[in-house]
């Protein structure tokens, strides 16, 4: 049971897959968060009616399976617009929008959690809107939003397992390739699961710790 055909080179192949997973996640989370903050503030500032188009797009991104979003984006950019784009670019674009969709909600929740009186106090001290946002809202909202944001980043990391449909070889796909070759599904899947767990679990725990540490009660 314990002898396996898995070689060091194969393990390196898996590690490279994990690296790709982290790269796709990092790019998407960085751009997605920036976009999400913009959308979140936009949504908060404009109110439900004027921000409706943005809300709709973000809502669609949360209500359609990621697999379909990836296939659609790939088909639209590749076959309809005839753009020569790598799978990596498409994957990052879709995941960025996906991250932004969830991040906007988190940002809005964070801004909502800042007491209005605090902000009025800031404005009555002569702070501009930007100063109020930068020095009052941001520090307070971050406290509320950061634990959920960590959860979101980990969610994106796990969902990035789906980017195999646009020919990106990340951890899940490389495991699949090895399974096809070595025919040891259980063992390889356990290693793959361990990779994901090792990346995700400490961060998830850190998020839980922050949530407990920063809660107001």
């Amino acid at each position: 049971m314990f002898d396996t055909a898995l070689s060091a080179a194969d393990l390196w192949f898996l590690t490279k897959g994990a690296g790709m997973t982290i790269l796709v996640t990092a790019v998407s989370v960085v751009f997605g968060t920036v976009l999400g903050i913009v959308f979140g503030v936009f949504r908060y500032q404009l109110g439900a009616i004027w921000a409706a188009p943005v809300t709709f797009v973000l809502d669609v991104s949360r209500s359609i399976p990621l697999l379909i979003q990836l296939v659609l984006a790939n088909a639209f950019l590749g076959t309809v617009l005839r753009l020569q784009m790598s799978g990596f670019t498409v994957a990052c674009m879709v995941l960025t929008l996906y991250t932004a969709a969830y991040c906007a909600e988190i940002v809005r929740g964070g801004i909502d959690a800042v007491p209005l009186n605090t902000r009025r106090a800031a404005r009555s001290l002569g702070m501009t809107w930007a100063q109020d946002m930068r020095y009052i809202v941001m520090p307070l909202a971050t406290r509320v939003a950061l634990p959920s944001w960590i959860g979101l980043a980990l969610g994106v990391m796990k969902d990035s397992a789906l980017v195999y449909v646009v020919q990106v070889v990340e951890l899940m796909k490389s495991t699949q390739i090895l399974i096809t070759r070595l025919q040891e599904p259980l063992f390889l899947l356990l290693i793959c699961g361990l990779f994901y767990f090792v990346i995700s679990f400490p961060l998830a725990r850190f998020g839980g710790y922050l949530e407990k540490r920063w809660s107001n009660d």
């Binding site: 669609v60 209500s63 359609i64 399976p65 990621l66 697999l67 379909i68 979003q69 296939v71 659609l72 088909a75 639209f76 076959t79 309809v80 617009l81 005839r82 980990l154 796990k158 969902d159 397992a161 789906l162 899940m172 399974i179 040891e184 599904p185 259980l186 063992f187 899947l189 356990l190 793959c192 699961g193 994901y196 767990f197 995700s200 679990f201 998830a204």
Partner: protein, 221 residues
């Protein structure tokens, strides 16, 4: 404009088949949600039991479900257990995978909800002569399910979205699987998947609306 001719008519003619697939998708999601809630309640009980083995089992389940991709869990249910000579059909594998995921996330939601229910209520129930299980079942659980209703709705939406992963283990009767097969026949990738996307969006909206109606009916004081 695009140098690409959209063939919506051809794609739309496949709509009945796709709607049949949507029914299967909803069936899987509802089943996985029902079993998932039952398992999550059980896991919550395990955590409350104070028994180290049961608690460890529940914690392991929750952490694995929350820290690995759903795709991995479905692969495990299909290809992983096949190493033990157990072969599930794609439908069963997908159902097991999603149910495992649902139960893990829901158990964590329930744990959060439990914090909002004062310990004194259990003690009051116990002092009225209820057994621990009765106190949980009649006093704590109803409140827990009420507090966790919104996260449960979100999980239901995720269950719908996760059914699209069935295609990776060879399921071709759900909405995504049907669309994939039609795509292989007609190559109208964009049109077909756009229609599938609209159907998924509508299903999600119906669930969210339905949940709101149910909540208004169930949770009035």
């Amino acid at each position: 404009m695009f140098g690409y001719t959209f063939q919506w008519k051809q794609a739309l003619s496949k709509l009945p088949q796709m709607l049949d697939g949507a029914l299967v998708t909803m069936e899987i999601a509802l089943l996985s949600m029902a079993i998932g809630i039952a398992l999550a309640v059980l896991l919550t009980l395990f955590r409350l039991s104070g028994n180290r083995v049961l608690n460890g089992f529940a914690v392991t389940w929750v952490e694995v479900a929350r820290n690995t991709p759903a795709l991995f869990q479905i692969y495990m249910a299909h290809f992983g257990v096949a190493s033990f000579g157990i072969h599930f059909s794609p439908f069963t594998s997908l159902l097991i995978g999603i149910t495992f995921n649902n139960a893990g996330y829901l158990a964590e939601n329930f744990r959060g909800a439990l914090k909002a229910i004062p310990e004194t209520q259990t003690r009051a129930g116990r002092s009225l002569g209820m057994t621990p299980l009765e106190a949980f079942g009649y006093i704590v659980m109803p409140q827990m399910l009420r507090i966790a209703f919104l996260p449960m709705t979100n999980q239901m939406v995720w269950a719908i979205l996760m059914t699209s992963l069935g295609v990776t283990v060879g399921l071709n009767i759900d909405l995504y699987g049907v669309t994939q097969d039609l795509n292989a026949l007609t190559f109208r990738t964009f049109e077909l998947f756009a229609i599938a996307g609209v159907i998924f969006y509508l299903i999600t909206k119906i669930i969210q609306l339905g949940a709101r109606l149910v909540a208004a009916r169930l949770f009035r004081y």
